[in-house]
Amino acid sequence: MSIEIVALIMFLSLVVLLFTGLPLAFVLGGLALVLSYFLWGANSMLLVAVQTWDVMNSYFLVAVPLYVFMANILQRSGIIEEMFEVMQIWFGPLRGGLAIGTIVICTIMAAMTGIVGAAVATMGILSLPAMLNRKYDKRIALGSICAGGTLGILIPPSVITIVYAVTAGVSIGKMFIGGILPGLLLSVLFISYIAIRCWLQPELGPAPSKDERAKYSLADKFFALKKIILPVLLIIGVLGSIYGGIATPTEAAGIGSLGAIICAALHRTLNWKNLNESVIETGKITAMILWITVGARCFISVFSAVGGDELVRDFVTGLAVNRWIIMIIIQLILVALGLFLDEIGIILLCVPIFIPIITELGFDPVWFGILFLINAQMDYITPPFGYTLFYLKGVAPEGVTMGDIYRSVIPFVIIQAIGLAICMIFPQIILWLPNMMK
């Protein structure tokens, strides 16, 4: 059989099998082995052991359970509820203030935990009822939660970033640091949009009455800030030690986890129930991610062995067009895949094939990775399959329909696209900080 036909069979069976609902890890691994069996016989089956061993031997992947654990402890520590109170005191008096505050909290949460589902669910429970009580327009209320929640993908530490860095063979530290400015850029864009929109149309996010606004003095406001000192110190500690080269991202995660445990202890939420739940939840998420990694490594090794990766590379680089057009086509392919496939799966499958092309075209793989993460964020809020939309529907009070959520995110999807364009036109937004690292 020719390479083209084998590669086509692999791709088509993958697409068909994915929709049958069999977990991604087993679709990838199973398909790889069945094909390998037909092509090279039983002797080639050792590849499954070799690929599994390869994943087991990755020091960088140790960062996955550590960051997931840190996130799980912090999420149960009560810190986020306290931050929500602080946010209400600071931003509540403004027009659209609760929505702005939601984005601010989501940004801080993103830097602490980075689990999208958790951020959306928490804000959906804390912030959404508060906004609806204050007669905020649903579009602003729902949209700000969905958009803010996805910041966890881009703003470090983030598990998707680790998987990208390991797969592309770039430094996790550089990827983490590279996500900071684009993440803050998006956060600022979201906030500006809400502020301007609510300033022009006060009925979208009405300010509270005058008495309400005078409830907290300036002293109260500053006193409230002490509640967020701990989480902010933790973030600075983790990211600062990576940036300064003091600790590897894995070590920073270990220290961060210890810090999270201490934070929880100081909040008196370090009990058996929270610890136990965090431990088992971490195990579950890590197993899910790393099993997909095993399956995807098997798939990619067979795909490369039949020459599929060269086929794609020759085809793409053979296109006699501007390198930027190729770059945009690749991004579009990733976005299209993201509409139904899990982001981690996309990275594990596409990045090994696309990275050589990207490098050959003279683009920076860190820059490309961050652009991909911004795309991934867009996938998370793009109707009809964006994950966050369903997370939010799951916790939203009655009377909020899927249609409301779909309509609410459209402006934010557009803002994301603008953010993506800005980062493509000005690569320094992404590359400036990582290039300053030694």
């Binding site: 994915l18 929709f19 049958t20 052991a49 992947l61 195990g283």
Partner: protein, 171 residues
Amino acid sequence: MHLLKACLHGIDRTNYWVARLVSWAVIILIATTVYEVIMRYLFNAPTIWVFEFNYLLNGPYFLLIGAYAFAINGHVNVDVFYGRLKPRAKAIIDLFTMPLFFFFIGMMLIYGGQFFLNALTFKEQLSSAWAPPVYPVKMIIPIAAALLLLQGIARYIRCLHLAITGREGEL
């Protein structure tokens, strides 16, 4: 039928407890990482073992929890269409797709086992200053595959039962 139910339940419980136990390894990972950083910066005496120990622990950690994650549908799948189906329809589809799973995990069991035996025979060690033997870690590959295979068989029997009788949750 009672015996079958007891067996399936036994598989669930086994994998649940394996996961409960193994998931505490994350605490060990944190402890060793912190220890390494303390030794390096406070005592200027970096260890030779933490780096390798951590990834040698991480592998068994995620592999062994795989079966439990499968039992509780914790492995991510594409549910755009699948998610909308009724339980019985899902069970029928699973009956057709699960052989792919069995092939993958079955091969992992057989060839992972071979892989382990090779390491054992040649007393393979990591080529580093610490030089730990690797066979105990490689042994986890067939063990994890066996646990996952059992969980898969349990699921297959349940799907078969649901597909034939249309009654949910009896097994």
